[in-house]
């Protein structure tokens, strides 16, 4: 089926070309980073994880959200989602690949990365993250591809793939739970030391992922002959609505515990993010934008007319993707590291090379997504789905 990715319209080639350009630029800066060291980024001894690990965290969520189309179809026999499960799975493949690449570009010594396998260390959450992410990638490639191939040949998918599908359902929340545990078990990082970290990760994931899927479905409908379907999009919209409301609720749970208890270690990080400390508050406007508009988006999604009109739905979904990204892709990392364990405020902002490398990784992810979606959509067009 991969040959479908080789023949396409002009627009398809143009998109692939643009993505390749992003990848090339990213690769160029990555080579520079390999040569010089991670000092090329804005990270430092106080904020020792930055943009890369933040993108990893955000994209694990996008990947996990594939379960939101897989679960209703396979466990509740919600037939409508049968049309789009493959879109969810291929989105997961692209996202998890980006996650793994973001870990690699963040390593000081990528040449030694297989030490994680050579010296397996079960007490490290990173070891488990490596396992769950790779397994999830494998599951989604196999399931997505095999089921699509069966669809192309208009036969039932082979029986052996069913257990893998059932396994992939609990596996999805597990990848985001393990990723939350990377942070939530560290003593002395008050911002992360919260039991609601994993639930919050999941709620924002199940909002942002399906929101992205809605946008992708609308694009697929606009530019191809395959229509993912209005009912499908509306059901996804309901999932997004519940998830984003829960996410806002979890945020305020966090705020209550931190500010009613008045424990300084925990308050300081929120103060830095939303108010600034000692005049340092680079993230303040971003964080306010994030929480205010996330709340507004949640309220908008509750209104049936907003949800049912696909233009306002698309705009609200865009807002949800943006605000959850700011929360996880900007605030989460820096907020955890500032102030540092000695209660000093050293701020962080990504450098240009860091941004270009990030864009390069996104380029790879979107190239994979484009190619896989091209294959899936061509199959769907062929069988006249």
């Amino acid at each position: 089926m991969l040959e479908y990715a080789l023949i396409g319209s002009r627009r398809y080639y143009a998109l692939v070309g643009v993505l390749l350009l992003f990848i090339l630029v990213g690769a160029f800066f990555y080579l520079k980073q390999l040569q010089f060291g991670l000092g090329l980024t804005g990270m430092g001894r106080d904020v020792s994880w930055g943009f890369y690990i933040a993108q990893l965290t955000y994209l694990v969520g996008v990947a996990a959200s594939a379960v939101m189309v897989v679960l209703p179809y396979y466990l509740h026999n919600y037939k409508a989602f049968g049309r789009i499960t493959v879109l969810g799975e291929f989105l997961a493949v692209a996202s998890v690949t980006m996650c793994l690449l973001f870990v690699i570009v963040d390593l000081g010594r990528p040449d030694r990365m297989f030490n994680i396998i050579k010296y397996p260390t079960p007490n490290s959450v990173l070891f488990w993250d490596m396992i769950v992410l790779n397994t999830y990638l494998f599951l989604n490639i196999v399931i997505g591809w095999v089921v699509l191939e069966a669809e192309k040949n208009q036969v039932a998918p082979p029986k052996w793939v069913k257990p893998l599908i059932y396994l992939s359902i609990p596996w999805a929340p597990s990848i985001h739970t393990v990723t939350a545990f990377l942070y939530a078990g560290l003593p002395g990082r008050g911002y992360w030391l919260t039991a609601i970290m994993a639930p919050r990760f999941l709620s924002s994931a199940f909002a942002a992922g399906p929101a992205l899927l809605i946008l992708l479905a609308l694009l697929v409908r606009k530019y191809t002959k395959f229509d993912p379907g209005r009912e499908q999009i509306q059901t996804l919209a309901k999932i997004v609505t519940y998830a984003i409301i829960v996410n806002v609720f979890f945020f305020f749970c966090e705020i209550f515990t931190v500010f009613y208890s008045q424990i300084p270690d925990h308050m300081l990080h929120f103060k830095y993010l939303f108010q600034g400390i000692e005049g340092k508050g680079r993230l303040v406007p971003w964080m306010w934008f994030s929480i205010v508009f996330m709340t507004i988006a949640a309220l908008l999604m509750v209104i049936p007319r907003v949800r049912q009109n696909e233009t306002t739905l698309a705009l609200t979904c865009g807002l949800i993707i943006l605000t959850t990204w700011i929360d996880k892709g900007l605030g989460l990392m820096t907020g955890g590291f500032v102030p540092n364990p000695l209660e000093k405020v050293v701020e962080y902002w990504p450098t240009m090379p860091e941004l270009f490398i990030t864009l390069g990784v996104y380029g790879i992810g979107f190239l994979i997504l484009t190619v896989l979606y091209k294959v899936a959509v061509t199959v769907k067009e062929e069988i006249g789905a």
Binding site: L107, R109, P110, R112, I116, L126, G188, E343
Partner: protein
Amino acid sequence: MGINRREFIKLAGLSTLFGLGGKAAWELLRPGQLEAALTAAPKPLTAKRWAMVVDMRKLDEATAKRCIEVCHRIHNVPNFAKPKNPKDAVSPEEQVRWEVKWIWLEHFHNAFPGMDQPHMAERLQHMNFLLLCNHCDNPPCVRVCPTKATFRREDGVVMMDMHRCIGCRYCMAGCPFSARSFNWRDPRPFVQQEYPDYPTREPGMVEKCDFCAKLLAKGQMPACVVESQGALIFGDLADETSPVREALKNNFAIRRKPFLGTNPQVYYIV
């Protein structure tokens, strides 16, 4: 025509025999000397649980700075404020970000956040505390490391294997004391004079104080302890008669963030 397989094995075998005969050759030429050289190596210092007591009453700032100086010199720790070649100079902001430090000074409220009080003894408020890796009994850095590149020795020293470290910096996120440094770039242009007894580093791995494990193995005390003129006390916490136990028995000592349960093994007498 070269040698065949059989001849090669013969030759290899013979040269191995000669290789093994190296010690015998020494015995013939200079009897006894090799043994003498081997036994002359001093006995390593050992303990069940190494610990340090910093007696802040005895530690003046000049001495503290000398401790830092000697530690960083013998461990080839770079000073980004002082490049060997002026053309390598880096901005003050980069100096902060890239800083590598094994032992350093900090005010009370930074060293012991949450423990400072509105009306503290003035002496304490301006005092600079000497900080280093706490060599925790229950080290979070060891718990999170995905390759066991950082590990806890039987005697309590938390060590770094810089040849195994992949540079993921999980340990830096895990350490509640900021005791770990990463090589964000090549540190060598900022090492004033290379100290031959300790390796210099490349970009990409984490490092920290190792209680001078190399010196302990040679039977010597950690460099900062030697330099401190009695203000730093180092010894076996498991041994009731050790100087650290003596110091802790007779004085009230505090530790950094003991409530986190990492069980730090550097004690401060204030």
